[in-house]
């Protein structure tokens, strides 16, 4: 079971030095802040709620097997302040999201800081760069 939850080969893992301050409600002890990966797939759900908003993404690998990913953001008020809304994602959207991976290899990634002054991570929705 555990192996199925490993990062599928289709995900490109780029090692990036992230120097921006990270302000997270729950901290980032569980995430590898030194790495960034690209979650590419189809949105199956979007939870716009406290404490943190998250996007559910089905990621298919070359063999056609599907991994259920979650991309975690911050709370809805913080996300509204940087241009997100309850309608930013909808099921069926094709997305690419850069985020930091969970240390334990499970299919969860985290966007980190929602500070209005922090550098935004790359998000592509249906072929368009997300620019609020």
């Amino acid at each position: 079971m555990k192996n199925q939850l490993r990062i599928p080969p289709l995900l490109w893992i780029a090692v990036l030095a992230i120097s921006a301050p990270l302000f997270a409600h729950h901290g980032n002890a569980a995430y590898d802040t030194e790495k960034s990966l690209n979650v590419k797939g189809t949105v199956t759900g979007y939870v716009w709620a406290n404490p943190h908003v998250f996007v559910k993404v089905d990621v298919k690998d070359e063999s056609g097997s599907v991994a259920h990913w979650i991309v975690e953001a911050q709370n809805p008020v913080s996300m509204m302040q940087i241009g997100w809304s309850k309608d930013t994602f909808k099921p069926g959207d094709e997305v690419e999201i850069d985020a930091m991976p969970a240390k334990n290899g499970n299919p969860v990634a985290f966007l980190g800081s929602s500070s209005p002054t922090a550098t935004r991570r790359r998000i592509v929705i249906n072929g368009k760069q997300f620019q609020p």
Binding site: F23, H26, G27, P51, V77, M80, Q81, N104, N106, T117
Partner: protein
């Protein structure tokens, strides 16, 4: 000569009319008289640089009413513990990785009593600080949507607050997790042996025309002081000093007085800047729903906990 001038004028006029009508065809359609008005709901506060160089009228006398925002870049969000004493070795640096048993070596250590240190160690915070643990291992009451309590509502995430002055009260409305407090200004004494409250019992008075001081007691020791798990006892006394500098700016200083836990008083916020918002500013809702929190913990928090670290 006159004729030629007339022809030229007609030509220019025709050309102008044509270009205007072409322009009208290519310009994006606009409703008659429409100007883009900002959305009056869920107002977004400006970020810190927007305040730079703004001129302000003088402060009104004995008036702190209004909607006040703690601009994000001013440090209103304090994930590593109270702004003046973050549980970090270096600012925004060493220490965020957590895993330490206590706060030895932090920048500005707190004067714990032995009982205070013991109480600190019992609290397991999930914020990025020296004692951080993965969220699935934390025992932060706020992670279950227990009330954030006072003064944590000012020492964790102070965002936007509204202050309303009446003849005998100051009503304090705090956006973060939807808290309200009543600060009595009718001259009553604080209670001697209060039934504990999450937000305590508060009285306030003007110490000069621009400084309003609030004393709060009777605070429930189940709440933490901040996101780094700093404890308090039922004897905690908090002093808030709201000092209005001018019409648009106010400073907040929060002093923690709890001899059971700390050998001397300490400041969680010191002259922390608050910025007045326009009267129509609509504070967006930031409520903790236990059901949503449980769902988040099930789908996200517990999934990223290190294997073997799961709560037994």
């Amino acid at each position: 000569m006159f004729k030629r001038g007339l022809f030229s004028a007609i030509a220019v006029f025709t050309g102008l009319t044509l270009s205007l009508s072409l322009n009208a065809q290519t310009a994006p359609p606009k409703a008659a008289g429409a100007e883009t008005k900002p959305d009056p709901w869920n107002s977004i506060p400006p970020i810190k640089p927007a305040y730079a160089g703004r001129k302000s009228a003088p402060a009104p006398i004995r008036d702190i009413s209004g909607i006040w925002d703690a601009a994000e870049a001013d440090g209103g969000r304090q994930p590593s513990g109270a702004l003046e004493h973050p549980a970090l070795i270096k600012p925004r640096g060493q220490g965020v990785e957590g895993g330490r048993p206590d706060e030895t070596g932090i920048m500005r250590p707190l004067p714990f009593t032995p009982a205070g240190l013991e109480a600190l160690k019992a609290n397991k915070p999930s914020g990025p600080s020296v004692r951080q643990v993965p969220s699935a291992l934390a025992n932060d009451p706020v992670d279950q949507c227990d009330p954030i309590g006072f003064p944590r509502m000012e020492l964790f995430e102070i965002r936007t607050i509204e202050l309303v002055q009446t003849a005998n009260q100051v009503v304090y409305l705090n956006q973060f997790y939807g808290n309200w407090r009543v600060i009595w200004t009718d001259g009553r004494e604080l209670p001697k042996d209060p039934e504990p409250r999450w937000n305590g019992y508060s009285v306030g008075k003007w110490v000069d025309d621009y400084t309003f001081v609030i004393e709060t007691v009777g605070l429930n020791p189940r709440s933490w002081l901040d996101h780094a798990g700093r404890p308090h006892s039922e004897d905690l006394r908090v002093e808030e000093r709201f000092h209005r500098i001018d019409h648009d700016n106010m400073e907040l200083t929060v002093t923690i007085i709890d001899p059971k836990m700390y050998t001397e008083p300490w400041q969680g916020l010191s002259k922390f800047p608050l910025h007045l918002q326009p009267p129509g500013f609509d504070i967006s809702e930031l409520i903790c729903s236990p059901v949503d929190m449980a769902e988040y913990n099930r789908q996200v928090g517990s999934v990223v906990a290190t294997p073997g670290d799961q709560k037994k």
